[in-house]
């Protein structure tokens, strides 16, 4: 093509004449260079070069491509959206960030600014937390995709000078018994993806020595074409070590692994739909991690942070050096000069643009002042980590990139960071779904056992045991609780030797509700994450949002996304739980259609004294069991209806202000020592939660459904398996009955059962005893599918 000219230099370097190019030519250029830019964006770049009056270099255009990708710039969340209710000026600003802006909590130290959200832990320490998605890579190469997802999110935590202390992983797959014949070409079988992803996470997290303490594994048909992998990490830092003061003259230092051709165009790949060709076309965008390199890097960064030797730090993730250098320079009102020939390479003869945008793993980019450079480099050397100064930050807002003595790019940061805003419109109509009419099953014992063994309820012990959740020795409440390995609501860590203060981490995920109503799906996800945290005594809760959605250029996908975002604002505001960090993954589409719209909410709370933490197993015979919250006939999207072969329409809703009050009372009761155990009601409702409490504690339980507070007359099966939000089961000593009931006055409370010494789980309904099972039967049912070897 005549507009693209290869220079006669001894390395691959192209100049592209965009001046006066027509739309057709722009599209052709983009295709030739493998750029994911839209026509509107290409026009804006053309106009820029028109005014500069020169050709563009391949290094420059690749920088635009990276910086303006959905993955790096989050165009959809920052764009203008026309909805039937009016124009939304940025989803992020309007719904997600607004919560923290309105609540103004003094414990939020850095929100939506850095690689991770930073919140207060105690007077001297802060918590850094981040959750990432790694869906596209995991769909192509599950082991490498998932492992590098963990690697990336750990570096996000290093990127705020924090010491990573815990990982959390939430995974969504298609059904493991999905029929091979139904798989479209290029789509890998769920069980292959499941094995690969789980071993990738274990292999990486275990080797780096960070415990994986929290997570979930979820199965749904909607994930057959698009596997979903959320990788999260939480770290601790000293507040006075949170250094951010990059100045002109500071060195740009690349540390860690070497730069190679792996991970080229990863962000472009992540910002497009998966097709049957993705396997061939995008395989090189996925990498294999080297956890050993990351462990060394982690040590070195920790030491440099402790000595306060760095003035800035960021990980080299999507977009590689191009994004790290340009973003840092732009953020501090600086420019930069970079000599690409100094970047240590895995092998020679990489083109300058490849070095500039490579996403090779296990690399960090630091800013270090001239007087600290030598000391910092010595620390890297002692930890056997390669670290190289490759450039310096400069005064003006230009980034100049050199290679072989030649300037190969000169980027105006002001233009680079003002991409044309997208403007999209939505059209979302609720599906017409209604609850099915079917007779109440006679044998509820069989139903309960089948529910316990259903994929989204059954124990994930086999997966959890393959992750080290004990390394660092600070895991107080473990993902599998007690010797019976029951399901904890949240993990609790005690990160400091000299303090009893703990951190509680939990998640909420309700994808199936999204098929009925994205607003209530999001509301339910937030409630579940918060409720899980409350159940262990967590308070002062911060939230993280991770959206996995389909192609936002399609109006219905975007419409449901807007609905979900609205719920985020409404519920988080009512709960007083601000969002502190988040990440979205859009364009999750495959030949099977869009992914099940999925919002993962991660909640991080504080447990003031871990010796008073509340866990979910029954403690002692004779204790009373209370159900908090109102049970409604809300079975739409429930695991019960799924088992019966339906989806239903009555999705669980939420009265956020009433529920917030209920949670406040629960925390008060815990602080007064009135709550001996507490468990959240989620998938499978009351029946499942009660059974889990019984077999985990090894104690019997008799439940009386007549005592359950309902808003209307209801069948026993609906009372047992409704998934109404905002409900918890708590165990209270008989002698605390009156003080507990007094404290709970005004909130929905019902006495529903009693702990017994018998080895029986008994439920009384309208027809007398409707369930009478031994604890062993329940536990066996729960542990059979993925229960490991117990």
């Amino acid at each position: 093509m005549r507009r693209v000219r290869r220079t006669p230099l001894p390395f691959p370097y192209h100049l592209i004449d965009l001046r006066g190019a027509e739309d057709g030519e722009l599209i052709e250029i983009a295709a030739l260079l493998g750029l994911g830019l839209s026509l509107e964006e290409l026009r804006s770049i053309r106009d820029h070069y028109n005014s500069l009056g020169r050709e563009a270099s391949d290094v420059e255009l690749q920088t635009y491509d990276q910086t303006w990708s959905e993955h790096c710039f989050h165009k959809t969340f920052k764009g203008l959206i026309e909805t039937p209710e009016g124009l939304v000026d940025g989803l992020l600003k309007t719904y997600i960030k607004r919560v923290v802006e309105e609540l103004r909590p003094d414990w939020c130290l850095s929100v939506f600014e850095d690689n991770a959200g930073v919140i207060e832990f105690d007077e001297d320490h802060a918590i850094a937390v981040k959750v990432e998605t790694h869906n596209h890579p995991s769909a192509i190469e599950p082991f490498g995709g998932a492992a590098t997802g963990i690697g990336g999110v750990i570096r996000d935590i290093l990127g705020v000078w924090a010491d990573p202390i815990a990982c959390t992983d939430v995974l969504c797959f298609g059904p493991l018994d999905y029929k091979y014949e139904l798989l479209p070409q290029g789509i890998k079988h769920p069980s292959y993806l499941f094995r690969g992803v789980v071993s990738g996470i274990g292999s990486y997290g275990n080797s780096v020595g960070i415990p994986t303490v929290n997570g979930a594994v979820y199965f749904d048909e909607g994930y057959v074409g698009n596997v979903v992998v959320y990788a999260g990490c939480l770290g601790l830092l000293r507040k006075d070590r949170y250094a951010r003061c990059v100045r002109a003259g500071d060195w740009i230092v690349v540390a860690g692994g070497r730069t190679g051709l792996d991970g080229i165009h990863g962000v472009t790949f992540a910002s497009s739909e998966l097709t049957w060709e993705s396997e061939m076309v995008s395989r090189p965008a996925v990498q294999i991690g080297n956890p050993l390199e990351e462990e060394k890097l982690k040590r070195a960064i920790k030491l440099i942070g402790e000595d306060g030797l760095g003035s800035g730090i960021t990980d080299l993730g999507g977009g590689g050096l191009s994004c790290a250098v340009c973003e840092t320079a732009y953020r501090y009102g600086l420019g930069a000069e970079v000599w690409l020939d100094r970047v240590p390479l895995k092998y020679p003869s990489m083109a300058p643009w490849e070095i500039w945008i490579s996403e090779s793993q296990e690399r960090m980019c630091l800013a270090i002042s001239p007087q600290n450079l030598e000391k910092a480099l010595r620390i890297f050397e002692e930890e056997q980590v390669e670290a190289t100064p490759i450039g310096r930050y400069s005064e003006e807002g230009l980034v100049r990139v050199y290679y072989g003595g030649l300037k190969v790019a000169e980027l105006d940061l002001r233009h680079l960071f003002s991409p044309p805003r997208i403007r999209r419109s939505t059209s979302w109509r609720p599906p017409s779904l209604e609850d099915p009419i079917f007779p109440e099953p006679q044998n509820l014992e069989a139903i309960l056992k089948r529910l316990l063994a259903s994929p989204n309820i059954a124990s994930k012990e086999e997966v959890i045991r393959s992750y080290d959740h004990e390394v660092k020795g600070c895991t107080v409440v473990k993902p599998l609780h007690g010797w019976n390995a029951g399901p904890s609501d949240a993990a609790v860590l005690k990160p400091l030797g000299a303090s009893w203060r703990g951190i509680s981490i939990s998640s909420g995920l309700k994808p199936r509700y999204g098929r009925i109503d994205p607003y209530w799906m999001a509301a339910s996800s937030i409630d579940e994450a918060v409720r899980n945290n409350i159940a262990v005594g967590g308070r002062r809760i911060a939230l993280l949002d991770n959206f996995t959605w389909g192609n936002p250029e399609k109006e219905d996908r975007l419409g449901s996304l807007v609905q979900a975002c609205r719920a985020c604002y409404d519920v988080a505001k009512a709960y007083g739980t601000p969002f502190v960090s988040g990440k979205d993954s859009l364009y999750n589409e495959s030949p099977l259609g869009p992914v099940t719209p999925t919002l993962l909410v991660t909640a991080v709370g504080i447990v003031p004294d871990i010796r008073r933490v509340v866990t979910m197993e029954l403690k002692e015979e004779g204790d009373l069991i209370y159900l908090l919250g109102l049970t409604r006939k809300e079975v739409g999207g429930s695991e019960y209806l799924r088992l019966m072969g339906y989806i239903g329409g009555s999705v669980p809703k939420l009265n956020a202000s009433r529920t917030a009050e209920l949670y406040r009372r629960v925390i008060s009761a815990m602080d007064l020592g009135l709550v001996r155990s507490c468990h959240d009601l989620s998938e499978g409702g009351l029946g499942i939660a009660a059974a889990e409490m019984a077999f985990t504690g090894g104690l019997g339980l008799t439940l009386n459904l007549e005592g359950v507070l309902v808003d209307e007359e209801m069948r026993d099966d609906f009372k047992l398996f409704s998934e109404s939000n905002g409900r918890l089961l708590v165990e209270v000593k008989p002698e605390h009955r009156s003080s507990f009931e007094k404290l709970m006055e005004g909130v929905e409370l019902s006495l529903v059962g009693m702990v017994t010494a018998e080895d029986r789980f008994r439920v009384l309904g309208r027809r007398g005893t409707i369930l009478d099972l031994s604890l062993g039967e329940l536990m066996d049912a729960w542990k059979t599918p993925l229960g490991g070897s117990n």
């Binding site: 780096v208 050993l292 462990e295 004990e470 117990n790």
Partner: protein
């Protein structure tokens, strides 16, 4: 020897990741602790300045090749002679998980006739892959191992394991002979047990890695080099235990402390 003068050395290599909790546990016992990178160790330190060496858990050098193999070679070449002298003098060496793997790879364990040139045993792949779980181990040493002297005979201790390669094996053709020697020289120290205190008898998950004869930990013939797969440093405090919530409040300490305290007591008595 006065406890506060006891110096514990915790060497680390790239990929070591249990050094800080191991150090924390020993610090709580009132001894001095130093965590030193192996590179720095052979450049700047003298092993003989220390009273106890603890090789901690982790994935040294990524556990590429075989768990602990590269770190073992590094130690062998760089500090091998010093380490042998340290051991010959009867000073205690403890290897936990990856540290145990190192001691086997370097030929110190079982070390039937002193240090062997080639490993005499293997800590091989678990049949079920990586397993993180709490197990029970029974103290079976009859007195040869001075490092566990404070632990009552037949005591069952609760600790977590977390490894993918920890299945203790002897070469097939020497299995009986080597096992007999372990007994003859009283080198067996810990064996996996069931909740009722009987041996796991290879039964999963009580024996989590399929180890021969439920072997979880052994010592050298002299008894001053001890290696085990479970992690005492993760069972040091009561709040780390899996079952304390049932009781309401955590006990102060867990069983891991028994073992580490016993080692410190040995050094106290010795000098």
């Amino acid at each position: 020897m006065n406890r506060s003068e006891i110096r514990v050395l915790i060497p680390r290599a790239p990929g070591t990741n249990c050094d800080s909790e191991t150090a924390m546990a020993f610090l709580d016992l009132g001894v001095k602790v130093e965590v030193v990178h192996t590179q720095r160790l052979f450049r700047e330190r003298n092993l003989m300045d220390y009273d106890i060496i603890v090789f901690p858990g982790g994935f040294s050098y990524g556990d590429y090749v075989r768990s602990g193999a590269i770190w073992a070679k590094e130690c062998e070449y760089r500090i091998g002679r010093e380490l042998e002298e340290f051991i010959r003098e009867g000073r205690p060496v403890l290897g936990i998980c990856n540290g145990f793997q190192l001691l086997v790879e370097a030929g110190f364990l079982p070390g039937f006739e002193g240090r062997s040139i080639y490993p005499q045993a293997a800590l091989a792949n678990n049949p079920n892959g990586f397993q993180c779980r709490w197990v029970r181990i029974k103290h079976v040493n009859s007195g040869n191992c001075p490092l566990t002297r404070e632990i009552p005979p037949d005591a069952v201790l609760e600790m977590p394991v977390a490894h993918g390669e920890g299945r203790f094996l002897f070469p097939r053709d020497r299995e009986d002979e080597y096992l007999r020697r372990l007994y003859e020289q009283d080198q067996l120290v810990f064996r996996y047990a069931k909740p009722d205190g009987t041996f796991a008898d290879g039964e999963d998950p009580y024996n989590p890695d399929g180890a021969l004869h439920d072997i979880a930990g052994i010592c050298n013939p002299e008894g001053n080099v001890l290696g085990l797969m479970p992690h005492p440093e993760r069972a040091y405090y009561g709040w780390q235990l899996p079952g304390w919530t049932k009781r309401g409040t955590p006990p102060e300490y867990g069983d891991g402390r028994l073992l580490l305290e016993s080692i410190v007591r040995y050094v106290e008595r010795r000098l």
